[in-house]
């Protein structure tokens, strides 16, 4: 079987191809699940005025950049001048989502660096962020005028990014606008979790245990290989809180996982689900064991008799003599 000797080399070549492709990819870039879905329903407060409510209905009517930022975010400073310029030129509507921040800190930051936002949604506890599948700041979502998410930019919008990535999308949306009728603005009748909570579970121990169990199966998307149960990252804590809320509202474990998967994709599961693209993952070890076992048994069955290797009478005599000699010496 001369060709079988080339199997290791062949397998290696395939591996190298994948490793090479891997170099061109960034494994931390999670594609957004929310493209072409409507902006999730939400009801939060405005940054400057706690009494003023902002809902998803306020975002409909005109294309917008929804920019997730925070005063703690260093890279946000990098894109801030671009956003200020866009606001000054009145190029596009910019809505801010102030994520995981303190109100005072954010207001001070904006006073110091400028405020390019038409409205700023205060999302102190990731209520909106998780709904949108946010994994870090800065991230910018492009909404069309019907309030549908059309694009997500991960990372700062430098002038290059604006020119090469964001503006083309907005231009395409503008072209689309010419051929479709304007949306009608409706009052948001979104049912928000914080208002209407169907409390199904009341047993605190059970809630705690189930939350823990489900949290261990969900990945922290801003960490390196930790579950949201193990991680201390703020987003992980917020996600744990959300898991608890879903558990209390009566979701099954699978439903909670699906909730997260809807927003973050399969990446958010610690153990890959059994579906088409992971079928191989579970099948190969089993197949290898079977192949190995069968090869082992067949080999044993086909083992040729090895009489030529057995000890001859002369050999046995030599051994006996040597042992006897050794005995008399000790």
């Amino acid at each position: 079987m001369a060709w079988s000797r080339f199997i290791p080399a062949g397998a290696f070549v395939i591996l190298v191809v994948f490793l090479g492709i891997g170099l061109t990819r960034d494994p931390s870039l999670i594609p957004t699940e929310m493209i072409n879905r409507d902006m999730p329903a939400f009801e939060l407060t405005e940054l400057y005025d706690e009494t003023q409510r902002v809902t998803d209905a306020d975002l409909i009517g005109e294309p917008a950049l929804v920019n997730v930022f925070g005063s703690w975010c260093v890279a946000c400073l990098q894109e801030h001048p671009t956003l200020m310029q866009l606001n000054q030129d009145d190029t596009v509507r910019i809505v801010g989502v102030n994520w995981r921040d303190g109100r005072d800190d954010a207001i001070k930051w904006l006073q110091r660096h400028g405020d390019p936002y038409e409205t700023i949604i205060f999302d102190g506890e990731s209520d909106l962020a998780i709904e949108m599948g946010v994994t870090g700041a800065p991230e910018t979502f492009i909404l069309d005028r019907t309030g549908r998410i059309r694009f997500k930019q991960i990372g700062p919008i430098t002038s290059d990014v604006w020119r090469e990535t964001i503006r083309p999308v907005l231009d395409a949306l503008a072209a689309e606008e010419l051929t479709t009728p304007a949306p009608v603005r409706v009052e948001s009748d979104a049912v928000v979790d914080s208002d209407v909570e169907n409390i199904v579970l009341t047993d605190l121990d059970l809630i705690g245990a189930r939350t823990e169990a489900v949290s261990k199966t969900l990945r922290c998307v801003v960490c390196q290989n930790q579950s949201i149960y193990d991680s201390n990252a703020p987003l992980a804590q917020d996600m744990r809180r959300l898991v608890r809320k879903r558990v209390v509202a009566g979701d099954s474990d699978e439903e909670v996982r699906d909730y997260m998967r809807y927003r973050y994709g399969d990446y958010v599961l610690m153990s890959p689900p059994l579906q088409l693209n992971t079928f191989l993952l579970w099948l190969v070890p089993l197949a290898l064991v079977l192949v190995g076992g069968i090869w082992f048994v067949l080999r044993g069955r086909n083992a040729a008799p090895t009489v030529d290797d057995a000890l001859t009478e002369a050999d046995r005599n030599r051994v006996a003599a040597a042992l006897a000699k050794a005995e008399t010496e000790t």
């Binding site: 994948f18 599961l269 070890p285």
Partner: protein
């Protein structure tokens, strides 16, 4: 000035290494003795130059020479001296220099300890070692130069990641690299043998001590990493199936298969081709590991420099080294003769099964680690593979391996019958099955009971074998000459017993932690307590203090059980102002049957502090067992029969009893 000397030393080493490769390989090809001697000398010269370069870099760190860019990026004057020194390899460039130095040292060791090898084989092996060292030196000099200067010279450095300022982590890389790079020797010997086209049992005998040495060091390196993660990361995990952990585990698994394979090759002359392939694969897995950590291809807590440019360079090295070796294997392995055959029920057969299972488990870990990459490349989907996958696939394979590894050593070479060892098997069953039932009943876990029963099975099997080797129970053996027989027994036999018993102990630890570990988290005000597994932890006090380069907030936690005071723990949180980073230092109460672990989180006087407490049964045996394995490997290296193999004069033939 010194940094420039270091730089020059590396460049010189590069040239000498290239010459060493050429002289060794070409010299052996044309039979030029002087060229081969040059290769020997070159290997030693290169080792000395690399030691010099490394020493100079370490010196730059220790005196905080901030004109060297690397020192500025990774050090600070306020660091304790020991961490200034270990900071030398706490970064990409420095650790690469450590790698290269160890590689050169192993090359020199091949010269010193290989005096009795046939000249051609040795020259070729040293030549191949020179090739790989050249590749890595080139990588070091051209893409990861540790001696780059910077100007203007800053007042102080940026500091070292607080996580790395720890004794365990300081020595973890050197041992790990001794393991990874140690396998390069087996690789070099394998490629040399393929080039020669002639391999036999003697080759296996020469290679075996090198494999054992590298394997032992790698074991220690992995244990250090695990122990460090356990006490440093604040939640008592000891293994996470993180991609970088996996890439250290895969060479270990393949290395285990390799060292068993050389056993058969040495004893029976069979398995030669398989051994060659494993030797190539094990070192290649080390190379793949280097690639992964430094190229940003996979997400991991360990990821060093995320630099695709470097990734391409290492990938090229990988293609040349592994690809070259594997193609050579495909072309030349046909010339290698088969060894003696053997029956299904024999020791060889058991070792075949060992190899099959270890290779399958390596492949499984490999698949799980690289699957996200494959899927991303093919479909763009992002999935991740976490611990649940590895536990469900690796565990069962290991269980099967343990069952057979207790039995196979009891069989004879070539051909045997299991009925001959029936009595031993029955005794082993008689101990294992009741253990299963008892543990399953008291511990409320069928799988837990099975795990412990497997460990007992392995333990008794290994003890039986050891006893048999010591001829305990034989007609002429007495307690009196037991000591003598103990001393006469070859190192490999002691090593075998230590290693297999060590694995049994590790299994007990792993199963206990997986099944019976427990934890609780709560917010405690002063005086309040939290319980886990019958132990009560009470927070009595929280204080602030100043360390050498950090501020710490330490809690005082008293442990009681059934009213009796067990101990006091001081979990702390450290804030490093220079690096603006925090670490959690968990506190442990260590015992033979369990470790009690407490970690303190954020908090204040009014609301209390978040305290996590953990009950970890038998966890310390995981590491004790693994260290026994490493120790067993080292004892096997010291087997005096290896000295025989390296003697100048052949062992006198037995006198024919005519």
């Amino acid at each position: 000035m010194l940094a420039e000397i270091g730089q020059i030393a590396l460049i010189l080493a590069l040239f000498i290494s290239a010459l060493q490769a050429w002289m060794g390989l070409h010299g052996a090809h044309i039979g030029d003795r002087r060229a081969m001697v040059f290769a020997d000398r070159g290997a030693i010269a290169q080792a000395l130059l690399c030691i010099l370069a490394f020493g100079l870099l370490a010196y730059a760190f220790m005196v905080s020479d901030f004109s060297v860019q690397l020192v500025t990026a990774n050090s600070h004057t306020s660091k304790p001296m020991i961490y200034k020194f270990s900071g030398t390899w706490g970064n990409h460039e420095g650790s690469m220099l450590l790698w290269v130095m160890i590689m050169a040292l192993f090359g020199a060791a091949m010269v010193w300890f290989g005096k009795t090898l046939p000249a051609g084989l040795r020259a070729r092996a040293i030549g191949v070692q020179g090739l790989t060292t050249t590749g890595f030196l080139a990588f070091l000099i051209f893409s990861s130069n540790p001696f780059t200067r910077m100007s203007p010279i800053p007042e102080n450095g940026v500091g070292l990641n607080p996580l790395l300022q720890d004794p365990g982590l300081a020595i973890h890389p050197p041992f790990l690299y001794l393991g990874y790079v140690g396998f390069s020797v087996a690789f070099s010997f394998a490629v040399a043998a393929l080039i020669e086209g002639r391999v036999d049992a003697m080759w296996a005998r020469w290679v075996r001590p090198w494999v054992l040495l590298a394997w032992s060091f790698l074991t220690i390196g992995i244990v250090l990493g695990s122990v460090w993660a356990y006490y440093e990361l604040g939640w008592g995990g000891w293994w996470f199936w993180d991609p970088v952990e996996n890439v250290s585990f895969m060479p270990w698994l393949a290395g285990t298969a390799l060292l068993h394979s050389t056993l058969v090759a040495q004893a029976r002359g069979s398995f030669i081709r398989w051994t060659l392939l494993l030797a190539i694969t094990t070192f290649s897995l080390s190379l793949v590991g280097t690639f992964i950590v430094r190229s940003g291809v996979l997400t991991s807590v360990h990821a060093f420099a995320v630099d695709p440019g470097r990734g391409i360079f290492i990938l090229a090295l990988l293609v040349l080294a592994t690809g070259g070796a594997l193609f050579l294997y495909a072309l030349r392995s046909g010339r290698i003769a088969h060894g003696a055959g053997f029956q299904l029920q024999s020791r060889e057969s058991g070792l075949v099964l060992n190899n099959v299972l270890l290779v399958v488990s390596t492949a499984t870990v490999f698949l799980g680690t690289f699957y996200p990459l494959v899927i991303d490349a093919m479909t763009g989907d992002k999935i991740t593979v976490g611990p649940p996958y590895f536990e469900r696939t690796f565990g069962p394979i290991m269980a099967v391996l343990i069952i057979f590894m207790a039995v196979a050593p009891l069989l004879k070479w070539r051909a045997d019958n299991w009925r001959r060892i029936q009595k031993a098997l029955l005794i082993m069953l008689a101990l294992a099955v009741p253990t299963w039932i008892a543990v399953a009943a008291f511990g409320n876990s069928v799988l837990g009971g099975l795990g412990i029963a497997l460990a007992v099975w392995l333990l008794t099997g290994s003890v039986f074998n050891y006893a048999r080797k010591l001829r305990i129970g034989d007609a002429k053996s007495t307690a009196g000459n037991l000591l003598k027989r103990f001393a006469i027994l070859p190192g490999a036999a002691h090593g075998f017993a230590l290693a297999h018993i060590g694995l049994a102990l590790t299994t007990i630890g792993v199963v206990s932690m997986g099944v019976w570990a427990d934890e609780e988290v709560d917010r405690l005000k002063l005086g309040e307590s939290i319980s886990v597994a019958g132990y009560e932890f009470r927070l009595e006090d929280v204080r602030r203090a100043q360390g050498p380069n950090y501020i710490s907030e330490t809690g005082q936690v008293v442990i009681e059980r059934n009213g009796r005071r067990i101990g006091v723990l001081n979990p702390e949180q450290r804030m490093y102002p220079v690096e603006r980073n925090n670490t959690t230092e968990g506190a442990m109460e260590v015992g033979a049957t369990r470790i009690l672990y407490a970690a303190k989180g954020d908090g204040n006087l009014e609301d209390g502090w978040v305290v996590s407490v953990y009950y970890h049964p038998m966890v310390i045996w995981i590491w004790i067992g693994a260290l026994m394995m490493a120790f067993g490997g080292l004892i096997a290296v010291a087997d005096r029969r290896h000295a025989y193999a390296n003697r100048k004069a052949p062992v006198p033939q037995a006198v024919a009893a005519e």
